[in-house]
Symmetry: C2
Subunit: 207 residues, 2 copies
Amino acid sequence: MTRTSLSREEVLETAGALVRQHGPAALTMRKLAAELGTAVTSIYWHVGNRESLLDALVERTVRELGEIRPHGRTPAARIVSVATALRRELRERPHLIAMVHERGLTERMFLPAQQALVHEVHRAGLRGAAAARVVRAVQFQVVGHVLVERYRERAPAQHPGEDELWHTAPAEHDPALARALARPPDPERLFAASVRALVDGLLAQPR
Amino acid sequence: MTRTSLSREEVLETAGALVRQHGPAALTMRKLAAELGTAVTSIYWHVGNRESLLDALVERTVRELGEIRPHGRTPAARIVSVATALRRELRERPHLIAMVHERGLTERMFLPAQQALVHEVHRAGLRGAAAARVVRAVQFQVVGHVLVERYRERAPAQHPGEDELWHTAPAEHDPALARALARPPDPERLFAASVRALVDGLLAQPR
DNA sequence: ACCTGAACACCGTTCAAGT
DNA sequence: ACCTGAACACCGTTCAAGT
């Protein structure tokens, strides 16, 4: 059983599918070769080695990140809409962030959202270093939040029997607070509220 | 050359040192055995396997996390001081966060700071779900920020020749903004400003 | 230009055998 | 109770040999 000749494109395609489904750790050269129906060593001819294969994969995924169109009336609302859109883009590619960071492409990944943010922050009347600060703060906030969210999702059981631990200090006298903290957070709402607060706070700060 | 009999304690100690210096990926059972001067298989008798060795390491590090004492005058300042202290604790254990998350111990790691935060948020006059939201938002903010910071530090070159990419849109007419964004951010100051803005925004939100 | 299998140096883990 | 080496199934990568 022979197969049509292998191409770099096909290697990337198949590797990408494996990463999307099972994460980068599950991408072994041998499994990839099996999937492709070739000898392991053929892959090396096309993509060099595992590391540069992943590099190429990340490159391509980053390029895929769509342009971001803000919407909303107030400057704050428009900035929040950019954050929300960025979060969605990142969550659609669950393995991207970590891979991007490991390769030093964080700034590059930030770009589409950054341009939109710069525009909106400018519209909000901020200039220079103050404007840059807002842009950066929002970027860090979004990426950080998505990272924590993803970690929490992958995590098993979470909070092993820590209900008891809550019965301390002020939480005792505020059962609604204790209950709220015992429940797992709703990341979507938490994200919206946090970004909103961050942006409000930043725009209110002295310049 | 024989050695005094191995103990679980000694295995954890040595493994911990290796992880602190070179990260969890560098901890191989064989290197650890070499370090300890025993056969690889001896380790298995004491700690089961690599995974439970790492579990134990994380357990112990989480327990090490110190209590957090807020300071400052205003409620906002005190909450920010908790965030800052938590950030410091986490940065002192650079490999902890990822390992904690992978093991579903996020909530546990949050605990010391959480208790302090609950107390301060209560003092600020918040109750119930609104208080919980502030606590969670600050926790996510801190952990997320530290994660992004760490990724950036480990990253190589960062922003490969993207100065040009900046010469677009509004940045063109605001050279101070363009310059500020071209420079790598100062994470310490960015963190302080972000947390401050977040807390201000949260405390100002309608309840 | 492209593909191959053999071989090397590394992993984590199991197991029967030692004391 | 504790330690050992041999062995197994996996890695990524190199290389000489094929077409």
